[in-house]
């Protein structure tokens, strides 16, 4: 089976890896790069839990072949904020206690980032749409929704 040289950038760091044809971006991020913030949920593109940013766009990493990420810039939750200085979205999620089991939260935060990077003044409907591809089975979404609104306000204030 064919192997490929995959050159890409993950969270600001360049990598060159040998990957196999059938490997998914999700497999590489978790198993080769140890980025366990990327979770696998359904593995079929229904739950959105494995979402990462590829060239700034939200994608399901379970539906991307690793080699298709060549020359791309990937951001996972590990690339958003630092433990010392959390991203405003992360602070807002903490403030609202928007995370319960936490499994969907990396994807929720990246989906929020995907929205706010493009649209700093989202409407309520924009927010609902932005997180609509990601399933959360704990929170009922309300706290997540409120957290996103708080993040919007905080980011605006900071500018």
């Amino acid at each position: 089976m064919s192997k490929h040289l995959l050159k890409f950038n993950v969270n600001g760091k360049d990598y060159a890896l040998i990957v196999q044809s059938h490997e998914r971006l999700l497999d590489i991020l978790r198993d080769k790069l140890g980025l366990k913030g990327v979770k696998e949920g359904c593995g079929t593109g229904d739950c959105g839990i494995c979402a990462v940013l590829m060239d700034g766009k939200l994608v399901n990493s379970c539906l991307v072949f690793a080699i298709q990420a060549r020359n791309k810039k990937i951001t996972t939750i590990e690339g958003v904020g630092t433990p010392e200085e959390l991203h405003p979205i992360q602070r807002a999620f903490m403030k609202w206690n928007a995370s319960q089991c936490g499994y969907c939260i990396p994807a929720m935060i990246l989906a929020t980032k995907n929205l706010l990077d493009r649209n700093p003044n989202p409407t309520d409907d924009d927010i609902k749409w932005a997180i609509s591809g990601i399933l959360c089975r704990c929170t009922g979404y309300l706290k997540i929704f409120e957290a996103v609104k708080t993040a919007v306000a905080e980011i605006k204030e900071a500018h």
Partner: protein, 295 residues
């Protein structure tokens, strides 16, 4: 996942040359939202995948000489953002809104939607009612055919093994025309439609008659997407009144051969299909004449 080879072409010429030499067991893959699942479910067993994601030149929405042209690698979110689709083409944005969540519309491509040709594709009915064509290219040349002829059945398309789909194109619609798209699925995001419906209507203000109408569903016969031509005939050339509509509705019930599956029963699908058609038609009329008709 099942093992297979992946060929990553350097450019389009390299791709077309490769396809010309290798026929058996080669499967094209764009952004893979549909194919990866089908491989995992063992519904397809490709020996070699050919990656199309490098063909960035096939990602565009253009309007030239009264024709819209959408490149095969254009994603659904690029359609959503295209300023070329003004209010007259709100149906495209409606497709994008109901297509799936951001992580799907960011990658799902027009070419993938047309070439997958399954009953769950949302873009196909809209392209069918716009009488769209597809341009196919091989190293030996190009050919153009209507989407309706290109999609021959569920997951059956008229694409030769050495060809790729380059773009889809359709004529701009005039001031007296509108199109609309409606869909019902289990939830709003990331979901396969129970039924979806697209309608194109050309309505003359002078005669108050329907000059032309095209109606398409993701399923007209079992799981095959297509047009509801007999229903169209009942409306074309008539005034849109209650009598005309009720005749059209009973023809539609007769014409649609729907089936049951784990998503929905045949009876439920029929009710939804009829409602969606009425809603789509009402939307076209409303936008054209500012009047409401039976919904």
């Amino acid at each position: 996942m099942r093992r297979f080879d992946m060929y990553v072409p350097e450019n389009q010429t390299d791709l077309l040359q490769y396809l010309d030499k290798h026929e058996a067991g080669v499967q094209l893959v764009a952004n893979g939202t549909d194919l990866i699942n089908r491989i995992q479910r063992r519904q397809v067993h490709p020996k070699t995948l050919v990656d199309l994601t490098g063909l960035v030149e096939l990602s565009y929405v253009k309007k030239e000489n009264g024709m819209f042209r959408i490149g095969a690698m254009t994603t659904i979110s690029e359609i959503f953002r295209s300023p070329l689709f003004d209010l007259k083409y709100e149906a495209f944005r409606e497709v994008a809104r109901k297509f799936g969540g951001p992580s799907i519309v960011n990658v799902a491509t027009v070419g993938g939607n047309v070439c997958s040709a399954s009953s769950s594709e949302d873009l196909l009915p809209l392209l069918l009612v716009l009488d769209a064509e597809v341009r196919l290219r091989s190293i030996r040349g190009e050919r153009v055919m209507r989407v309706e002829d290109f999609v021959k059945g569920k997951r059956v398309i008229d694409l030769n093994p050495n060809e790729i789909m380059v773009e889809t194109m359709f004529r701009e619609i005039d001031q007296d025309s509108r199109c609309a798209f409606e869909k019902v699925g289990m939830r709003n995001s990331l979901i396969t439609a129970f039924v979806n419906c697209a309608v194109y209507l050309k309505h003359s203000k002078k005669t108050k008659q329907v000059e032309d109408i095209r109606i398409a569903f993701n399923r007209v016969n079992g799981k095959i997407p297509g047009r509801a031509r007999r229903t169209e005939e009942k409306i074309r050339g008539h005034r849109l009144n209650e009598k005309c509509l009720s005749e059209a509705m009973s023809t539609l019930r007769d014409e649609l051969q729907l089936s049951s599956d784990f998503r929905a029963s045949q009876e439920y699908r029929m009710e939804v299909a009829c409602s969606l058609f009425k809603r789509a038609l009402a939307r076209c009329v409303e936008e054209l004449a500012g009047e409401k008709i039976l919904v």
